[in-house]
């Protein structure tokens, strides 16, 4: 194959600066005498789910080497958190995995509560479960739609976004925001439940199973879908563990690890749900696992809602000094007003210590490590985002894959670059 004429200078592949879509350090020869083409996929590419860049070495259409490069959406969330008071960090976590803001919120809030030794009231815990599981459905729907779109099933994304829209509406009713919800608060929920929220969720729960069947009818037995996903991107259980995968990527390989079961938080130990496992660890198994997770999330929301529907206990742990006092108290009593003033101006001083708390995020284990020096801001906040870790397996899966498989492989990890780059 003749090399493509390129106007760009030949550069070293380790150099990060480049211009144009042609990437540089051009053809080099294989042992067989054939040339390798270097293809730069991204950061502006329809299927890299944001601004990831994958440097591919291709022999024809076969991938010889794959090198994912990240950092194009790096916003320094961890460092910024060191200059924000604990309650001010919650909105920043929205912007990590922006398809699943409530889950990020929850991971952070639970870590802070663990640091403070605080427990949200049971009712708030149930509502957190409901919101987080709805958010899991929403983020899985985004995944299903875009993954299918990458593989070429054009209409799927519109169908899944239609149902996701219902969840967005529920979030809007609940907290006023749709995407970056800033929903969770340290200590529970300080707002009242709005009217019409429960019927809205009920309506979604009623509609969703039939819609889910619609998706699986289109894909699960489709010969082209099977040909594109079965046996592609196989991760053996050993590889899955050695790459420290979590979430559906791990469970697709048949390893039973779900933080909700392994180390239950909130009220997950009181809810009845199953953890689906894959068999072969290929793209299709991960698809099946996630689809089953949609069903399980539906089941969890139904249970939690049935349990908590007619409950009207308080949703905030007001007895704790770390929590902003209730609104009426602030208006009527001097103590509460002073506490409110200090809380707003200065924040609370967290105890000295170090905590790590992980939750089962839609994409895997979402962990937050907080080091506190006793101030009102974290001394250090470390995010363990699941898709960042899961992305590490991409070069392993891409060995010998076709170029067309690359988009399926990127899709199957379920990455959101906001969460990868942080």
């Amino acid at each position: 194959m003749e090399p493509v004429k390129t106007p760009f200078n030949v550069m070293d592949s380790t150099q990060t600066e480049y211009s144009g879509t042609l990437m540089v350090e051009d053809e080099h020869e294989l042992a067989s005498g054939e040339r390798v083409m270097t293809l730069n996929m991204g950061p502006q590419h329809p299927s890299t789910h944001g601004v990831m860049r994958v440097l591919l070495k291709l022999d024809g259409e076969t991938v010889i080497e794959c090198d994912p490069m990240i950092g194009y959406l790096h916003r320094g969330t961890e460092k910024l958190s060191e200059t924000k008071r604990y309650a001010q960090i919650v909105p920043w976590t929205d912007r990590l995995d922006y398809t699943a803001a409530p889950q990020n919120n929850l991971g952070y809030v639970l870590a802070v509560e663990k640091l403070l030794g605080l427990n949200a009231p049971e009712r708030a815990q149930y509502w957190r479960v409901i919101m987080v599981e709805l958010s899991r459905i929403a983020s899985h729907l985004v995944w299903l739609g875009t993954h299918a779109l990458d593989i070429g099933a054009l209409s799927m994304s519109l169908y899944t976004f239609r149902e996701r829209e219902m969840i967005m509406d529920i979030f809007e009713t609940f907290c006023g925001a749709r995407l970056t919800t800033n929903m969770m608060e340290i200590g529970g929920f300080s707002r009242q439940l709005p009217d019409g929220l429960i019927p809205q969720i009920r309506n979604f729960l009623r509609v969703f199973p039939s819609k889910l069947k619609e998706y699986t009818d289109l894909l699960s037995a489709n010969p082209i879908w099977l040909a594109r996903t079965k046996g592609v991107g196989v991760i053996t259980p050993e590889a899955a563990i050695s790459y420290s995968l979590t979430g559906a990527c791990l469970r697709g390989s048949g390893i039973n690890y779900d933080v909700r079961k392994a180390d239950p938080y909130l009220v997950y130990d009181q809810l009845d749900f199953e953890v689906p496992l894959g068999q072969f660890g290929d793209v299709f198994d991960r698809y099946l696992v996630r689809v089953e997770e949609l069903r399980q999330a539906h089941k969890i929301v139904t249970q939690a809602l049935n349990y908590i529907e007619n409950d009207d206990r308080p949703m905030m742990a007001y007895e704790s000094a770390y929590v902003m006092p209730p609104h009426m108290g602030t208006m009527t009593t001097a103590e509460d007003m002073q506490r409110h003033f200090v809380w707003v101006i200065k924040g609370f001083s967290a105890p000295v210590g170090e905590v790590y708390h992980a939750i089962e995020h839609g994409k895997g284990e979402f962990g937050i490590h907080i080091v506190s020096d006793g101030g009102s801001m974290p001394y250090r906040l470390r995010l363990r985002t699941p898709d960042y870790v899961n992305l590490g397996v991409l070069p392993h899966m891409a060995q010998g894959a076709m170029l067309a498989d690359m988009v399926a492989l990127i899709g199957t990890i379920d990455i959101v670059l906001g969460s990868v780059d942080r």
Partner: protein, 347 residues
Amino acid sequence: MGDQPIWITFIVTFAIMTVLLLSMAYTTWYERKVLARFQDRLGPTRTGKAGLMQPLADAVKLMGKEDLVPDAADRNVFLFAPLITFTTALLSAAVIPWGGTVQIFGTDVNLYPTDINVGALFILATGSIGVYGIILGGWSSGNRYSLLGAIRSAAQVISYELILGFSLVGIFIITGTMSLTDIMFKQHEMLSFGPFEISNWFVLTQPLGFVLFVIAAVAETNRAPFDLPEAESELVAGFMTEYSAMRFALYFLGEYISMIIMSLFAATLFLGGTSGPGADKFWGLGIMWLVLKVMAFLFFYIWLRATLPRFRFDQLMGLAWKVLLPLAILNIVVTAFFRLIGNGQVF
């Protein structure tokens, strides 16, 4: 079907070109609307009633865009390539009949630009030349996505051209001609089964050939699920990545013309062309039947696009060479065998 003055041919050709170019524009509208319905959307609504002015708006927009030529491109080839695709696609329309010889204002008019005795081969040949536009465009862009798209396209067209050709051999064996006009009028004869009379459409005698032809036609026009040369999720826009403005539009329209031509071709070969109730009484009805058949084919194209994921390149090749080609050869052998029986040359 006799000779006619050249000026009548010119008028007929002009009319057909106009209809084709208009219908091509409105195929984009049709696709948008139908696809939108599949996807729970409305499609264009703002440009005129039901978005009917959308093709016009698109054209104005595309003409107003800058015609970019990348520095890395081979300038002359880059500028020339879209024309190949567009003109060859349009050229195939020359041999497709829209009816026989009819009387209009007392003059005999042939409702086809020309009737050459290898009409079917002519369409296959122009289709093959059309792929040069894609290969050269992709090659000269100086972009690797374009290059990959072009290579995919070349391999795909070579494989599926073969199947397209082979799937027609059955019809040639039955009719003994390659002239599309003759093939079409063979199908206007009626077959009677007791009280029932049905048209002798070749989809009835060549069902396997029809299925193979439709699959190959989808691949030949680079439509989903065989749209690998322009697979947007892998190759950004494939061979069209670097094209902008009207040159992009030429590729785009070339694809739509190919779709229409392939639909016309399929309707002529397998669905009796203009055959239908009342078609032999009034030529206008025949054209209406033809248009309806073409619209059904186009709907099928869009339906596929709305439903199916995309094949992978190796699977596409595997399907062509391991599944479709043996079937096509089987079809030829079986048809030839029955033809020989019919001729009394066997047994």
